[in-house]
């Protein structure tokens, strides 16, 4: 208990960092992922190919390597950015590939009649997708989409390996003050369990409320 209450400010600041990183990356990855999914089902071959190559590459690269590049290589190649932004970019680029695959899976669950009806009304591809198919697809993939975001929340700890602002680095701060590393890490683990539980509850809720009756 001493380890936690003696460093409560530190603990909360770091979990604040985790949550900020999670929220920013979640929003960016959802947007990019949906755009990629739209590209992968579009009538333009170049867009489909770009989407496929992107997803294949990013899904088969370890996240550690992606963040390794952004933490150590990006500044060398381009320009200086604070590590928080680099971590957001890395995590979003990585997670977007998984969001894309989930949304694409959702698109294939929407019954064909829906898109056919939309086309019969004279809708083009963009209208069919954004007004008819995607709203239904996203609802049907809410549970797996939440799983992807829960994975993102846990993946934010990988960023802690490269920097210090995040919850995963709490043990170092405690260690410097002579506290027990083991206890500090157990508190971090508990903190994550506490963060994941509301997301799981939200997942079940959304599943019930948003499930489409077909």
């Amino acid at each position: 208990m001493d380890v936690l209450f003696g460093n409560l400010g530190e603990f909360l600041t770091r979990f604040g960092g985790t949550i900020a990183l999670f929220v920013c990356s979640a929003i960016a990855s959802l947007i990019l992922g949906v755009v990629l999914a739209a590209m992968r089902v579009s009538p333009v071959p170049a867009m489909r190919a770009t989407g496929t190559v992107y997803v294949t590459l990013l899904r088969n690269t370890p996240l550690t390597l992606v963040l390794f590049f952004f933490a150590l290589g990006f500044t060398k190649l381009f320009f200086y950015l604070p590590f928080f932004l680099l971590a957001v970019i890395g995590l979003s680029l990585y997670t977007a590939a998984f969001v894309c695959e989930t949304v694409r899976g959702g698109i294939s669950t929407v019954s064909e009649g829906q898109a056919e009806a939309a086309r019969a009304l004279g809708f083009g591809f963009t209208q069919t997708l954004t007004l008819v198919v995607l709203p239904q697809a996203v609802r049907s993939v809410m549970p797996p989409l939440t799983s992807v975001q829960i994975a993102l929340l846990k993946n934010t700890t990988v960023a802690a390996g490269f920097s210090v602002f995040e919850a995963g680095g709490f043990y170092r701060a405690v260690n410097e003050r002579g506290g027990s590393t083991l206890v500090a890490l157990l508190w971090v683990a508990l903190g994550f369990i506490v963060l994941v539980i509301p997301l799981t509850v939200l997942q079940r809720r959304l599943e019930k409320r948003w499930s489409v009756s077909r």
């Binding site: 009538p43 294949t56 846990k154 934010t156 995963g168 369990i193």
Partner: protein, 284 residues
């Protein structure tokens, strides 16, 4: 994916064809521009100079990278075997008729699915010494991989067993088999066959997660990359080494993914395999 895709748009007429060509050209231009910027920055910062690529020719460096690869594969193989065993045990526990065992296994699975793998590895490597137990980086990596992926695989196995039609176990009980026999001879073989693609995809995740060992200084590929990349006598070739290592990881994962896809296609052709659409557990 071809069927649902084709449903989303009409066969393009002349105007749509022109529009699609323009959109295609724009996409291509954007992609080429992005690649161009990357290559330009690589060249401008001297990452394409012969000096920082010389290391490729040195035998010691090749051996160091090979050693990293072997260490990665060792952690992967050990972690995979242990995770599969743990997953099977936990799945059996969760399917048990005894309530205490069932809830204990459920709790275990939920716990290790919620805790980030990095935190687990940190716990074993940096945390345990405070309790007087010291483990090597290899043990910390493998334990973390085993516990996390075991918990995920337990869910996969359980879903597979539950997806076997009830008539199968009823018929086996009617033949006088015991619970263990029903599980071993009837349910598990069918479950494993139908879950094989999902199991292999989870192994891809496990392979990618071995790279987390880098964070606790387990000398796997990425660690070697950083070590070589900061070597001033080689010209600090961090980015070139990282590119090579990335290519190695992607190749390994693609090979495993290809195996998963092949297994899936094969099982779809085979009518004896139960067709179940369970989420592939590839959520990052």
């Amino acid at each position: 994916m071809s069927a649902p895709t084709a449903v989303l748009f009409d066969v393009p007429g002349p105007r749509a064809r022109a529009r699609n060509t323009v959109a295609g050209a724009v996409t291509l231009a954007v992609v080429l521009a992005l690649l161009g910027v990357i290559v330009w920055r690589l060249a401008a910062t001297g990452q394409l100079d012969a000096r920082v690529w010389e290391w490729v020719l040195y035998e010691n460096v090749q051996l160091a990278i090979l050693d990293g690869l072997v260490k990665t594969l060792q952690a992967f193989a050990t972690g995979a075997v242990l995770a599969l065993a743990l997953g099977a045990l936990l799945a059996l526990g969760r399917l048990s008729d005894h309530r205490p065992l069932r809830s204990a296994c459920s709790g275990f699975v939920e716990l290790f699915r919620a805790v980030p793998l990095v935190v687990l590895m940190f716990l074993f490597y940096y945390g345990l010494p405070s309790a007087g137990v010291t483990v090597s980086t290899f043990v910390a990596v493998v334990l973390g991989l085993m516990l996390y992926n075991g918990a995920v695989l337990a869910e996969v196995f359980r879903a597979g067993v539950l997806a076997v039609p009830r008539g199968q176990s009823e018929a086996a009980y009617a033949l006088g088999m015991r619970k263990s026999g029903v599980m071993r001879f009837v349910l598990l073989p069918q479950a494993v066959r139908s879950m094989l693609p999902s199991i292999v995809s989870q192994l891809v995740v496990l392979l990618k997660d071995t790279a987390l060992g880098f964070l606790i200084t387990y000398p796997e590929l990425l660690f070697q990359a950083q070590f070589l990349g900061s070597n001033a006598s080689l010209g600090s070739p961090l980015i070139p080494v990282a590119l090579v290592v990335a290519a190695i990881y992607i190749t390994l994962c693609l090979l495993l993914s290809a195996l998963a896809n092949w297994l899936e296609r094969r099982s779809r052709r085979n009518p004896a395999v139960i067709a179940i659409a369970i989420e592939r557990p590839d959520d990052a």
